[in-house]
Amino acid sequence: MKFRVDRDVLAEAVTWTARSLSPRPPVPVLSGLLIRAEGGMVSLASFDYEISARLQIPADVTAEGTILVSGRLLADICRSLPSAPVDIETDGSKVALTCRNSRFNLATMPEGDYPELPALPDVSGVVDGEAFAQAVSQVIIAASRDDTLPILTGVRMEIEGDLITLLSTDRYRLALRELNWRPTTPGISTSALVKAKTLSEVAKTLGGSGDLNIALSDNSELIGFESGGRRTTSLLVDGDYPKIRSLFPDNTPIHATVETTTLIEAVRRVSLVAERNTPVRLAFTDGLLTLDAGTGEDAQASEAIEAALAGDEITVAFNPHYLSEGLSAFDSKYVRFSFTTPPKPAVISAQDDLEGEDKEDYRYLLMPVRLPNQ
């Protein structure tokens, strides 16, 4: 095998493929990147039994062939090479990498031992990459990082026709985001549970290049994503996701609308005195939201900002971290809080005008902290 490719193209391709390599590969060959040179193209692939990644780059191929070489090492080397063409050529059981005056000889692993990569399921539809990336960033904040509850470390994707709904929860908050896509089969109805971490990687690395193909079949254990010649597959999380849509209250007699950035700033300041696990309190009165945190014996902070309240006055306490994370997911001018009563969850949604209606395509449901005297 022998090919020449520009350093920047190679480095980018190797970095992307190597990110899904497991730090502790289940078998040694899975620490490798599979590189295949064929007909003017070089393809790179990685796999850890759970996630596979594949891409192709055009290259000046002078001898076709396949090698398996340590992915971490190759990524480190590519990152530090000067910006110049890179020559890669097999030399017996070694592979030589030359770039300007630098030369590396790397051991190869037997590519015959490399497992076959899972096939990408048939493409089921196309979504705008950027819109998908934004939607994912809004829901993954609520996914659990606690692997004692593996199901909750996933994001639930529900597909009904041209609507995708993403849902996640860690039992303390819930994020729901709806977005449109173009399904291949009209009227498709399916769902999948994808690890939040995987989805976040997909959003970051595949969301920037236009259309994103999503491949998902009803009885598949896999989901696939493809964009700009890059494809990745991931095993789905196994198990029944709890029915969490019903957690949104039907009836919320109390509404309060606050300017988003003003509130984010105020929460950030006031929670400086909220030691770990102590809440920030929000008191909504007519025209005013008063935030305060801290305890009598230690530091205290409070701040009042404008708020439009419809319904009874209400005081509610939240974990400041959960609240900030949720608020930061909104890019609307205003956010609306919808309440039933204090120990019940509050819904946060986007609102463009102070007097207008809220939008329902993204909702963040947050359980309060019960104060000792409640």
């Binding site: 659990s144 004692t148 929860t169 860690d170 770990r276 102590t278 809440p279 306490a317 019960r370 000792p372």
Partner: protein, 414 residues
Amino acid sequence: MTSPDQQNCTILHVDMDAFFVGVELLERPELVGLPVIVGSASGRAVVLSASYEARKYGVRSAMPMARARMLCPQAQIIEPSHTKYQQASARIMAIFREISPLVEPLSVDEAFLDVAGARRRLGEPLEIGALIRRRISDELGLTATVGIAASKFVAKIASTHAKPDGLLLVPEAETLAFLHPLPVGALWGVGAKTGEVLARLGIRTVADVAQTPQAALHRVLGATGDHVHRLAWGIDDRLVTPERMEKSIGAEETFEKDVDDDQMLHRELLRLAYRTAARLRAGSLRAGTIALKLRYSDFTTLSRSRKLQAPSNSAKQLQAAAAALLAELGERPQPVRLIGLRAEQLEDAGRGGQQLSFDGHEDTWHNAEQALDEVNRKFGAAGILPASLLQPGARRPMQPDQGAGQQGQPEPGE
């Protein structure tokens, strides 16, 4: 005015004499004056406390029970009842806090007090020491030994010297005369290993340490060398720092026979979780982190910890975290000799309020476990247990807790 001898000697180290035995003898007066050992009778437990009569036979705290019984077969063995010790301990600590707000408990039966601010009210340090001993004797019927000095380290050695039922003040001017004849092992930070290193250099007494240049000690012992050298000159400027909250609470169990069975380990974790959670709730505390400790047959010991998503004092949550840690270890290379669970990063349960969750489990479980506390308070510990712990023969007494400043720690050997 303070007499010159007592000038600056405001640090008291108060240590109960054979505390667990003392508490037990209040209910068994017929055993006073006889060799008595508090410890579980089962195979691998250790001596938690031994009466001075038993110590004459060589019985020491933390010694395996089997060995203790060999040394002193006639000793009366009493099963430990930690609730009683905790109650007595609370009363003792309350007495200390009436003497001075500066109380630093070291364990259930031992504390440092700084009485600098109590002199005007209660008299000179010697009088205060005598007062503490008198109050403990009058109010609890127990004896304590008090060591008084200008520093924590010397006060502690003084109490060790005066044991049992004694009182000793080491005047500041006589500190070096008191320290220097002692063996190096008397210095804090000098254990068996450091002692060996020093012995190879011919350093056997505190005086030897003092006369060795600090640089030489630093070469062989590193930072410990500097520390030991300072102590040998009686320099110890650590303050008595009242600990507002316990740092951690936990329990561990040494199996009678090493255990390989996953189910049995998980069952033991459940028991430890219930015990630890009950203690958290009793102190109105919540744990932010749970640690698991395993000791294999060959005594290799490892511990792993994980942060809880929200702080908790529910046995259910503690057990889930510990079980996850156990599962993460994967296949065990050897059978397990000891398993332990520890609640760390404790915080006041009432302070921050309770983060509610969608499933509301924390409420249901919290209420159930609180009801359990009530029942157990009324009918004695282990009145109600999870069903999986009710297997015949599954119930075994607990091992003492080995953590610093913990309840149930074996008393320091005298």
